[in-house]
């Protein structure tokens, strides 16, 4: 059954060295949970961006919590490049498995289906393929003249992390149209979720909420976290705090600026 607990306990469930899936900044990133994980001293994470990393990924990298990263891109969007990611890659401190957006979606879909790999079109001739020894190029195995395709091994994250406006008391989590969260949760061994509120009802009993609900079957544990996506936005609840994100982008350009941000906005529990 889905457990209900406080934020720091939820953060404590993420093992050191886990393969952790995080959605892009626009898709309900659990910023409060990420800050709690950094406070808890999380380390050696293998990060999977689904498929683009943003501020949460940059924070974890800067905090020294990340051993490796798989991503199609990492960026702070309109606030510019992700500074700690950029420095870590340019100095060779962070090994990156570079990929492309649909390759990550497809590899997660393979895990959803429980098959060891899935094919994807395109890709042939991209240097990404040259540098991924785990990908395999083969001719259309059905012999129907489809040409070469790339086989991608399934990706099975240890844990998916996300925020949502609401869960119900049965552990069902409403995700609306943010269905990459559904895919992430289906593909992962565990899902840890923060929510704005926990409602005394059953989302699955109402057809209008059921269609946008991730069933508790996939949800390991839930913690309440008010404004849990801040400074990112939460659709229909609050907008992205663009000033804060810009200030972070500026501060994190230097190691010292990042340390100050970490001490002021992350290590001091808010």
């Amino acid at each position: 059954m889905t457990q209900f607990e406080d934020l720091q306990s939820l953060a404590g469930r993420v093992p050191h060295g886990a393969l952790v899936a995080l959605a892009p900044d626009y898709s309900w990133v659990p910023m409060a949970l990420v800050r709690a994980m950094i406070r808890g001293g999380i380390k050696e994470l293998k990060m999977l961006a689904v498929p683009i990393g943003g501020m949460a990924t940059d924070l974890l990298i800067g905090a020294g919590a990340v051993a490796s990263l798989e991503a199609a891109a990492v960026s702070l969007g309109e606030a510019g490049p992700a500074p700690r990611f950029t420095v870590a890659v340019e100095t060779g401190a962070l090994p990156v498995r570079d990929t492309t957006c649909p390759a990550i979606h497809t590899a997660l879909q393979a895990s959803e289906k429980g098959v060891p790999f899935m094919p994807l079109g395109g890709l042939i001739g991209s240097d990404l393929v040259e540098n991924r020894s785990d990908w395999k190029v083969m001719d259309d195995p059905l012999g129907e003249g489809g040409g070469p395709v790339v086989l991608l091994p399934a990706i099975k994250p240890d844990v998916a992390l996300f925020h949502s406006p609401k869960a119900d008391i049965h552990g069902n989590v409403w995700i609306g149209r943010r269905r990459e969260l559904m895919t992430m949760a289906h593909a992962s061994s565990a899902s840890l979720v923060t929510v704005e509120t926990i409602e005394d009802r059953d989302f699955l009993a109402d057809e209008e909420t059921a269609a946008g609900t991730l069933a508790s079957l996939y949800v390991t544990a839930i913690a309440e976290a008010k404004n849990g996506a801040w400074p990112q936005g939460l659709t229909g609840h609050y907008d992205r705090d663009a000033d804060h994100i810009r200030a972070y982008a500026e501060a994190a350009k230097t190691e010292e600026g990042f340390r100050q941000y970490l001490e002021g906005d992350v290590l001091e529990p808010s």
């Binding site: 959605a23 892009p24 626009y26 898709s27 689904v50 498929p51 683009i52 991503a71 199609a72 891109a73 990492v74 960026s75 969007g77 309109e78 606030a79 490049p81 992700a82 990611f85 950029t86 890659v89 340019e90 060779g92 990156v96 570079d98 990929t99 492309t100 957006c101 649909p102 390759a103 979606h105 497809t106 879909q109 994807l120 079109g121 395109g122 890709l123 042939i124 001739g125 991209s126 240097d127 990404l128 540098n131 489809g146 040409g147 070469p148 149209r177 943010r178 269905r179 990459e180 969260l181 559904m182 895919t183 659709t235 663009a242």
Partner: protein
């Protein structure tokens, strides 16, 4: 010359919009990550296409269009990912790519930290991968969408030899593919801060199509790291990119500005005030 004054971004937007209206069968334009100028251009092209009325162009799959019959749906559909506005996708991050893979998207824009004369694009970084000198965000979905969307328009606001190179350091996505590779899509055009070019997949070369107001063919030669073709008639036959007139600029600023601000507020504030 028109008397209206405009920002460089506004010229890029109107040039992209004209290009979208000129390409054949553009029923559905999708706009990807970090693409405020293409997003504004697509919305402007949509508004201009609506003025003309008439039947929709070839959106959705060929069989789907045949079933829908004439006059159904929008003349031009615009889908902008990563925001809540103008975003029709309800099946998660995968849907844009699944949609493109089926042939339901006719046009798309891709940028490049580097673009070479064979239309190979690099969004990942410069230097000798993986020991990069300069890292950029990454390849995003380019390694897939470049293969499956028929009209990909490349954009490079900075027209310098740093961006327009003889050979990209890393191929995020190749400009052309050998015949055995299934590839219904690819590059059609390149718009930079100085000019517009067309790409021919058969010759694997760009042809200079127009130079922006105040720019000469000589400037393009001096600032382009790859060799390109000129139209029949040589340098004198290269026209000037049409500048937006006052009415078009007003429409862009008052109608399109607030719409693109829903996805790109900082960009809209900077360009449209």
């Amino acid at each position: 010359m028109t008397g209206a004054s405009y920002k460089p971004e506004e010229l890029l937007i109107t040039t992209f919009a004209r290009l979208l209206l000129r390409l054949e069968r553009i029923g559905h334009v999708a706009v990807g990550a970090l693409s405020p100028i293409p997003g504004a251009a697509a919305l402007l092209a949509q508004a201009l296409a609506a003025d003309e009325g008439g039947e929709e162009a070839g959106q959705e799959t060929e069989k789907g269009a045949a079933l829908a019959g004439p006059g159904q749906g929008h003349k031009m559909r615009v889908s902008i990912i990563h925001g809540d506005a103008n975003n029709p996708f309800t099946d998660g991050g995968r849907e844009l790519f699944d949609c493109a893979g089926q042939g339901r998207i006719d046009a798309f824009f891709l940028g490049g930290a580097q673009i070479d004369g064979g239309a190979n694009i690099n969004l990942l970084g410069t230097g000798d991968y993986p020991d990069l000198d300069k890292r950029f965000p990454g390849s995003f979905g380019s390694a897939f969408v470049y293969f499956v969307i028929p009209n990909v328009i490349l954009f490079a606001p900075e027209h310098t030899k740093r961006v327009l190179v003889n050979k990209v350091d890393f191929i995020s996505a190749p400009g052309t593919s050998p015949p055995e590779v299934h590839r219904p899509g690819g590059p059609k055009a390149l718009v930079t801060g100085k000019c517009a070019m067309e790409f021919d997949a058969a010759t694997k070369r760009f042809t200079l199509e127009s130079v922006h107001p105040g720019v000469t063919v000589e400037d393009i030669r001096d600032n382009t790291g790859f060799d390109f073709d000129l139209p029949d008639g040589g340098p004198d036959a290269v026209p000037e990119t049409p500048a937006p007139d006052a009415a078009l600029l007003d429409r862009l600023r008052t109608t399109i500005g607030p719409e693109i601000a829903k996805t790109y507020p900082a960009f809209a504030e900077r360009v449209f005030g």
